[in-house]
Symmetry: C2
Subunit: 162 residues, 2 copies
Amino acid sequence: MLFSTKAEYGVRLMVELGRRAGDAAPSEAEPVALGTVAEAETLPLSYLEHLVAKLRDAELVTSVRGAHGGYRLARPATEIAMIDVVEALEGAIAPMECFYIDREGRVLCSHEVDGDRACATKLLWTRVQGGVTRALAGTTLAELVEFSEQHAPAKALAGEPA
Amino acid sequence: MLFSTKAEYGVRLMVELGRRAGDAAPSEAEPVALGTVAEAETLPLSYLEHLVAKLRDAELVTSVRGAHGGYRLARPATEIAMIDVVEALEGAIAPMECFYIDREGRVLCSHEVDGDRACATKLLWTRVQGGVTRALAGTTLAELVEFSEQHAPAKALAGEPA
DNA sequence: CCGATAACCGACTCCTCAGGTAGGATTTGT
DNA sequence: ACAAATCCTACCTGAGGAGTCGGTTATCGG
């Protein structure tokens, strides 16, 4: 399994926020309570709280405390690349433990210390890394929102005014 | 982390077999004892035994039992796609638990039962899936062997005749 | 000011699985 | 017969995923 449910739940949460924001600028949309999202997606509220905290720390959503509070996207969905979302939730995307990224975005392997021979598998993991990164960086939240609306056009959003 | 050390160790094992086979047809190459590989790659032998069993079950390597036994590639390195190796070691490559592949290679999500609305995240995971699959399917063991030899030209193989 | 609503936070549980060990049984060359 | 190897099953351990719970703080409406 490439990703855990953290990424899955977190992405669904973001999509839900994007759907409810609609065309309104994020800063003007009504904040959405986590409980509403949890119900709509049938996910455990207390678990979502942990996930949304990571998204907030990554400045992908903003929160409003107190009654009628909730969460909003920190910026328009078109400007949110999914790689930022997934990395906020799962941590850095390295195909293997021994991999890390230096400044410059180069992929390095901690096995090749002291200029010794390169990790035999580096070529492969670099390619995989590239494939995943490209897919995630090339997808915006707005695309997912649109996709989800196309596939559930008749479905009303729970909690909307009748 | 996308993959565990199972993939990492297993791939290194395969590369090692490929290096030692050299230009000889796999069926003629001397079988390589696991202990030799373990030593060369400084990996625990008893753990490698588990991994190589999976590779054998996937018919990627063949074994010779008894004294002077060992393992050989089941076919030339040019005909071994790394996706087969990684899948043998890690199991099917799905980005999420809810994903599975039907006959035809279509990606399906177990959440979209009864023709209901598609998983909001399906578009994203499908793209990631594609990125990984393309990278793995488009890389052969032969490429990795060549790559590793280019980067360790002066390094002799342990266990070779002097 | 009071109470309801919600975000916020830390601690704790449960369980799976990666990563590795251990010990034996079987096969085969010398 | 003996040694070298594969083969096989069982077991152990720690980390982390998945989720729960209880409590604190902030904010609104009345």
